[in-house]
Subunit: 133 residues, 4 copies
Amino acid sequence: MERRVRDSFAAQDYMTTIGAELVSVRPGAVEIRLAVRAGLLQQHRFVHAGVVSAIADSAAGYAALSLLDEGRDVLTAEFKINLLAPAQGEQLVARSRVIRSGSRLSVCASDVFAVTEGKETCVATLLGTIAHK
Amino acid sequence: MERRVRDSFAAQDYMTTIGAELVSVRPGAVEIRLAVRAGLLQQHRFVHAGVVSAIADSAAGYAALSLLDEGRDVLTAEFKINLLAPAQGEQLVARSRVIRSGSRLSVCASDVFAVTEGKETCVATLLGTIAHK
Amino acid sequence: MERRVRDSFAAQDYMTTIGAELVSVRPGAVEIRLAVRAGLLQQHRFVHAGVVSAIADSAAGYAALSLLDEGRDVLTAEFKINLLAPAQGEQLVARSRVIRSGSRLSVCASDVFAVTEGKETCVATLLGTIAHK
Amino acid sequence: MERRVRDSFAAQDYMTTIGAELVSVRPGAVEIRLAVRAGLLQQHRFVHAGVVSAIADSAAGYAALSLLDEGRDVLTAEFKINLLAPAQGEQLVARSRVIRSGSRLSVCASDVFAVTEGKETCVATLLGTIAHK
């Protein structure tokens, strides 16, 4: 299971572009980490909502995938994200969980934390629907 | 008004990282364009949902900003995006509109289209809330 | 097609409870109307967000159903609604449209208008995902 | 604090109409309970998504209010709800929590459970933004 998730993550060029790393994969729970750097910022020097969304969404999708049978795949149907605080710090960490894994859809949530000197602040929370293929 | 939006957009390093361009700014309506390229893709070779979200969200935020007085700024409070079709083609175009511009919040929508040989397909639609500062 | 939608609507006890009426059904577009009355209000004497959501969601679901083959049915997977203005007036009208009708999911939008002396004000907008059965 | 929430809840005619009861109010967490009955159902004999949304939204709003100073009030700006399972059983219970209480906005979540013979099943989860007045 972890191999499938890791192979799929490695095939996401965009995760490489932004420097995101897949930290851990457990059944129904995935962690993605990202070093904050200049090329990812918006006009207030916080990490762009699109980057925050990208790691939150990827973590949600892989949490869903981690509970599916071999040979299945996932595609995000939709998500909603609330941005709770400026995404600034040394790193961002996205942690996801599966709320419901159905036959055709999974509902997943992710929280994104900004990390500075080991201290975590929740900067965003996502609730999304992942379609199974 | 257009200058303020263009200055803010130019200060978004992340828009430069992904190669997004601000095409047009009218009161309450902004268009952002992006050339599709390898570094922006996910595992199925479609543009990553995070990139689609990024241009949709930026277009929404700048549409809100375009209706505010000089000196005000905007910050996305939350958005929801439905991914309607694979984001593949030569370019993506995000077009936004302001649904309601209140004193403290704007509600905006964006549609993202994939463009191939001049033909547009709607690949995502966003509905979000932008806080004023 | 219209008969199927009307039969299903008539089987929704809750629509009767709140006094909602199915005004029109066209392929991919449904209109539901509701007379504002005391039992539907919240603490500021506006129509409760739950009632506004109910007619917006029902209109979205029936718009999706109107495009499906005989024998199919629909179930709301999720929706997001922005409340734009106080829901007050003589009547509320929800109008929906199908944004994408896929094989297993439809994406639909609804707008809800408050009507006073023939004048309409948009009080809410919904974007949702409808699962097909 | 609890009195303010209870007074406001009592002023919501619609909560009376559907038979919802405010079970408990703690700082940042509210529980609302509803007896399932015929007038609240949709065409499959499950509780209508609008009713599920109503108690989830009310619980979220009052959780936000419970953390504000005397004299402040709340208004839902938007919410997103995922319907996870058919809302059927003897009762529905909505439990909310405040994710972030800011100066002008609160972000809250609610879960709705269907209860049958003391056994709870999560049937919906809501993530929303509450504006302060």
